[in-house]
Symmetry: C2
Subunit: 191 residues, 2 copies
Amino acid sequence: MGRPKNFEPDVAVARAMEAFWTNGYAGTSPADLAEATGIGKGSLYHAFGSKRELFGKALDLYGQVGSEVTAAYLDEPGTAKERIRAYLAFLVELDCSGPAPRGCLAANTALELGGRDEEALRAVTRITDETIRLLGERIRRGQRDGDVAPEVDADAQARFLMNTIVGLRVMATTHELPALRGIIETALTGF
Amino acid sequence: MGRPKNFEPDVAVARAMEAFWTNGYAGTSPADLAEATGIGKGSLYHAFGSKRELFGKALDLYGQVGSEVTAAYLDEPGTAKERIRAYLAFLVELDCSGPAPRGCLAANTALELGGRDEEALRAVTRITDETIRLLGERIRRGQRDGDVAPEVDADAQARFLMNTIVGLRVMATTHELPALRGIIETALTGF
DNA sequence: CCAATTTTTGACCTCTAGTTCAAGAAAAAC
DNA sequence: GTTTTTCTTGAACTAGAGGTCAAAAATTGG
């Protein structure tokens, strides 16, 4: 009943996510969001309450999509090292392919809002911990499959790889693809 | 001649650097800068021209101090691995010791201004490249001293370590010290 | 068609960021 | 002690951020 929405909230959140990703939280004004989503400012506030709430949804979507992509890459056939290499290569390729590199929304958020927004920090922690979990699982599977040495500490290795990913996506802002590829190879010699 | 300044520009830049570091570029208003430096807004503009110019000086100072600290840590007696470990440990300790972790000003800047400010990106690149250079030098010295295997690619290793540092300083925002220490150990097994 | 309900639209409001400027204050030069 | 120069102070200005609201529009139920 009532007048129907003339946009799909999920699509709007996805578009908002792109805008926040590219320009940061503070760097994205309500007017920018209206333009990015194609929805009037008033409607946005009606539908989402506030800029911060919309950002929250965008960040959650980011985490969800990220998890799916990560899982998809790691589940392809191959050894643990091959799949993890492919995943990291995909990430830096992605970062370097756009007009201007924008890093990782989660990392950007940690840095931009970290000091002032507990909730944002929790969301970011959820996202990274989930990625760490997926990496750890994949390494353990590699151990069962026999392509990863049994003495490797899968969780420590996973945390280390997460750290490498975060680093790469910041470094993608200032450094060229070949340097980033070299970093990936060096990081992967450890297991 | 003329009325003398009643503040020391270097001190003001140092205080401004702290403010930018803690709150980001956009997050630090002229009023904040006036409070942080103890100088009237008008005087700040008279002395530095604009917020952006003051930020430029702050970023340069950050790079300069950073280089000195890095060099000092790496030059202490010990093997290359020991000194690099001590240096990384110092950084994460520093990041985790404040009331709220603030990451690395250079990395923060790359992410916040990367897309829109070429000059800022160049400054950040200078800072990271200098750190990479110092790390590479130290590893080569380790090779001469015999505490690093000669087949290690010093430059690749240095770039990898820089990446690890960047990652750590972002991860410091969301993760605890023990996890970070574990990441350092894992990163150092490579050479 | 009328009522009830939900969205849209765009004007409007307040607050702050970032900056400028005119006036006064503090020094050196003469 | 006046002039010249440079610095300080605080008021003032503009633009835009973030958000609110009243009125109109689109739907379903009766």
